[in-house]
Symmetry: C2
């Protein structure tokens, strides 16, 4: 925890994330050109005013530093930055004006009493709010316009002659740069990068290439495992990889009697760690953009691995941008809705009311933006240039679409929950919720098919998995309907299979929720296990078991279009933590939480998962389960019985006969 | 005229002006600190997409250059910038994506057929509009993120020992930097700047100071006439002033038998030229901000001097910012309204429908913003944080204020005129106009006082000049009421005098309009003549005849707070052109125009003033007036008679007996 009186860099709240989000979304690179994201992107404010009143017992002095131009002002008198300012005892009004045309305006005040700690207001000359800050920028030498990565030097695990050049393998995925330690050649070389050896060896089609490299070349940050340098021999070259990362603490562990599962866990952790920087990225090679849909899944994985609240909030603030909404998030209607839903989940995870107060006005304006495109039945429709995505899958998108309505319904729910916490009137959302829920069931639930249909307007009564999955996940169906969905949709091979890993995530989630952990266990072993068999060091954007050879790297019509380290590939972390270990908060910030393990698939297992300010450890050894939580408020549910767990106490249960008995 | 197929830099329309406007408003400097403007300021978009379809007779090639990152795309295939791209004959879709996190994203295409000329669309991923460009950025080497000033080296007219140092006088106002040609001293020096010698000699209180200057120091752009270097002798130093400017063509000339008037004209031209850069600045030393009220007056002066349409549009676009309105212009409600009125005037001056089409949506949204703060009588009121300025003068600001209503009425009129031209429905404005006009007369016109009162709500029936002046200027009063206003207000010494030069401008304008040219002639001779007598080389922000010594430099409680080169000081140019020469457009772009000279004050005079694509020359010699227009469409009105003037023909009139006779 950072103390309130700790000096830190301050800025207009949200601006750091918006500015860095812009830079992040501009960092995509492909075959010698840059590829800035193709949607309208906000930037931070360019001039900001900070204000604070002090009632001083004694005179004091301070020095204001800033990134940008401007001045400090005490009781109306102006001073340049960097100058020691003396302040008399008594009441003082201190203001700091900072402008920065090239980046984030920020300030840092050195002083004993007057300093840039908690208590400053920041204004964009329209709204005055508590100033923004980040735990990553606490000292004067940390410019919040720069990202300070920790680095790790990685040596090659193999340097081999190949195709008339040198192929270097670092044995793991690197997201960083390189340090050339030896380059014995007179002419500059071309360094080809690859997530796979096939990509690095393809001089034409590899994504990244450093041309005309010489000994002191330091290329930009890139993702790779392999380097290939044509027309060179292993003796001529020695290159270290410099992996760059923002340190995150892994708060979870998993070890079982199933070696494949253990490997899947480890690779999931590696994958997710790589994709977690200032923000949740979709993948480290491609796109490196902040996608709201991908981020949504990452928030859940984070909850069971790092339990890092800051990366969640940074990602949410970057995605949402400034107050004025000009376009849906990443242009996608469902991504806007998922963002709202995610805020509620973050609140349940963190219990952070301060953040909710900061973000609620932006939830509200986004909800207004969404409500403006609903019809007389309360159904949301797409407007020109809106992308009604849901999934790449074939869907009957004639008229309004069921899956969007289910999401919207959940978003109203999120508004009601979050609005109530911050003391806002949520009556409008309740009323909209009621109408939409009724109409969703009336128009989209097909009793005969026992499932939600995509479109009621087309007359086709076409069923896909998507709306049904969301309805299960968000608890919009009773047990009877849930059973029907399970039978008629999720376990029905005649319903088109989910083909994207993005939606596979939601599908596994729903299957687990409906008690199909055994099925999901098998899917994890098969699907993720399939990648392990292919010697994956990170999990891919997509895995198609039928593909062989270099075909596995192809995606979007590009021979190396597939990202081999993709955040959503790490979903086993969430599935294991949420359903196999069975941990979830039942009140905000895990004041109370449930542990409902489903460990039948494991004979032996030892795993720890984070909860807010604590952790829960489960050890299973055949018929014995040992449970320990470092935090008060946990309830263990085992075979229908509930046990309240005291903090830091070890409880042992017998699992024989599917019955549990408290032996402790 | 720039040909349509001339290659040029392209950007999202308005963004160049918004970006440079931001930089301009951040350029203020005062006593070693920077002073960015204190309102919310927009920046340009950070990623932009350009698009154009070509149907090519033959294959061709082109090279895309950009300020920023991104790529070019032909029929879906992407290429890096700077690479020669070949394009087959037939239909081709060319797109260019440019992102720039530190400034204006812009592109320039070299090519025979495919090039960055007129015809490209630019998109911010929400709106697609014809791309923006400027005649100042036509060649590849001109980065539209930089301003390329022409320079003029100015040598000192005197270098004198003074107060133990060297005082250098350049004999004129400089807006630029310096070149140190000789500095024979071992230790760095302090260079103090002054618009006046008093300011330069005041080491403590001068606005700008270059500390620790050495021989190769090149200070930032500043305004000065004098430099003072303490502890140095004239033998030790030689410094040239490097004046920086954006060339503007003076299209007017004036010479009369009154030497003082001639001097006032020349100093007005000098003053206005100095304050006209990329934008109209209020002053060159202080504030250097783009103020809508100051700019409003500059548009009119420009019309009679440079007739430069580009500086008008650049200033208007910079002031208005991006689509979303968060605050009134410079925080001032009347400044927003004046901006709308100015657009109509610009259209009357230029006849430029293209610009009107570009700007109309931004007029409309600003008008919506204004209308949202009107009451049930149609009166506009100030909201929290809105600045109801009008003038620094004492006014009865209880409730809604008369002057604001008169401005709003004129703004409705501007919306009706401009909206009709671009084919928009303006019925709402007509309706609002009718209501407001009626209520203005009912509530604010005081028949007994024969004048508009400030406030009808206070019950004080207090009369100031302001609303009355605006009502005259905008033709909202009939002859009877106008006469009353002249007698009861303008020529009534009991009504508080206008004290600010800003409002003096409107007052002279109204007096002239009511035929008081004789009075105004005397005011010009006295007020501006007073500054001439004080050896002014440019006209000041304010002149108070009673002040003597260094007191003349004081303003806003600061000993050198007064700007000695202030745009509005140049208003004699407008008054002479508009009323004495009497030239004004009667249809857009001077398709028809009026020449209604009021030259009784001059015995001899020769003057030329611009009209759109032409000029009008008047020569008076005692009783003879010679008139010549280079453009068709002029009508001369002399003593109640009208004469249509053919182009390029000289007409001579006898002025004897106040009657005119066409002798040509």
């Amino acid at each position: 925890m950072i103390k309130e009186d700790q000096t830190r860099w301050l800025w207009y709240p949200g601006d750091f994330e918006i500015r860095q989000g812009l830079l992040q979304n501009f960092s995509r690179e492909e075959r010698s050109y840059d590829w800035p994201a193709y949607w309208n992107m906000d930037d931070c404010h360019k001039n900001v005013k900070f204000k604070r009143y002090y009632d001083l017992a004694d005179e004091t002095s301070f020095v204001v530093h800033a990134v940008g131009i401007g001045y400090a002002e005490v009781n109306g008198k102006k001073y340049p930055f960097g100058e020691k300012i003396h302040c008399a005892s008594g009441k003082n009004k201190v203001r700091v004006f900072v402008g920065n045309t090239e980046g984030l305006p920020a300030m840092y005040i050195e002083g004993e009493v007057i300093k840039s700690d908690i208590g400053w207001a920041a204004s964009n000359f329209i709204e005055e709010l508590p100033a923004g800050w980040s735990a990553l920028y606490l000292t004067q030498d940390r410019d919040p316009n720069k990202v300070y990565f920790a680095t790790e030097t990685v040596q090659a695990v193999s340097v081999a002659e190949c195709q008339g050049g040198v192929l270097i393998d670092y044995g793991r995925a690197i997201f960083g740069t390189i340090a050339i330690k030896k380059l014995n050649t007179a002419k500059p070389v071309t360094i080809c990068y690859g997530e796979s050896d096939a990509e690095a060896l393809d001089i034409e089609m590899c994504y990244y290439k450093e041309e005309n490299a010489v000994a002191d070349t330091v290329p930009r940050k890139r993702a790779f495992r392999y380097l290939f340098i044509p027309e060179l021999t292993p003796e001529q070259v020695e290159i270290d990889a410099i992996h760059e990362f923002i340190p995150l603490e892994n708060q979870a562990s998993f070890h079982s009697d199933n070696a494949l599962m253990n490997k899947i866990w480890d690779i999931s952790v590696e994958t997710f760690t790589l994709c977690s920087g200032l923000f949740f990225l979709d993948g480290i090679k491609r796109d490196r953009w902040i996608w709201s849909g991908d981020a949504y899944q990452s928030y859940f994985i984070n909850q069971y691995l790092f339990f890092d609240e800051d990366i969640n909030t940074r990602t949410m603030l970057a995605l949402r941008g400034q107050n004025e909404i000009k376009q849906h998030m990443n242009t996608i209607v469902d991504y806007s809705i998922l963002w709202i839903i995610a805020v509620e989940n973050h609140y349940m995870m963190s219990g952070n009311v301060e953040f909710l107060k900061q973000i609620y006005p932006k939830m509200k304006s986004l909800m207004d933006y969404l409500m403006a495109q609903t019809d007389e039945l309360g159904f949301i429709y797409g407007r020109e240039k809106d992308w009604i995505f849901i999934d790449w899958s074939e869907m009957d998108k004639d008229g309004t679409l069921a899956a969007e309505q289910v999401l919207l319904l959940k978003a109203y729910n999120a508004m009601i929950v979050c609005g109530s916490i911050v003391g806002e009137n949520t009556a409008e959302y309740s009323q909209k919720y009621t109408v939409l829920e009724k109409n969703l069931m009336t128009y989209f639930w097909d009793e005969e098919k026992g499932a939600f249909i995509d479109s009621y307007q087309s007359g086709n009564r076409h069923v896909t998995r998507h709306a049904n999955i969301f309805a299960v996940l968000f608890d919009f169906v009773d047990e009877t309907k849930a059973d029907k969905i399970l039978k008629n949709v999720l376990l029905n091979d005649e319903i088109t299979q989910i083909t994207t890993p993005y939606f596979k995530y939601y599908e596994q989630d729903a299957l687990c929720k409906l008690g199909q952990t055994q099925t999901v266990y098998q899917i994890i072993c098969d699907y993720w296990g399939g990648m392990v068999e292919q010697n994956a060091v990170t999990f891919w954007e997509e895995y198609i078991p039928e593909e062989t050879g270099n075909d596995v790297y192809e995606m979007y019509g590009d021979p190396f279009g597939k990202s081999l380290c993709h955040a959503w590939g790490a979903s086993p972390i969430y599935l294991i933590g949420r359903y196999f270990a069975g941990i979830s908060p039942t009140s905000p910030g895990y004041a109370t939480f449930l542990i409902e393990p489903q460990l039948a698939c494991f004979s032996e297992l030892e795993s720890t998962f984070p909860v807010k300010n604590g952790s829960v450890t489960l050890k299973k050894n055949k018929d014995q389960l040992i449970v320990r939580s470092t935090k008060e408020g946990g309830t263990l549910k085992l075979n229908g019985e509930a046990f309240e767990l005291a903090a830091n106490q070890e409880y042992t249960f017998e699992l024989a006969n599917e019955l549990a008995e408290n032996l402790s």
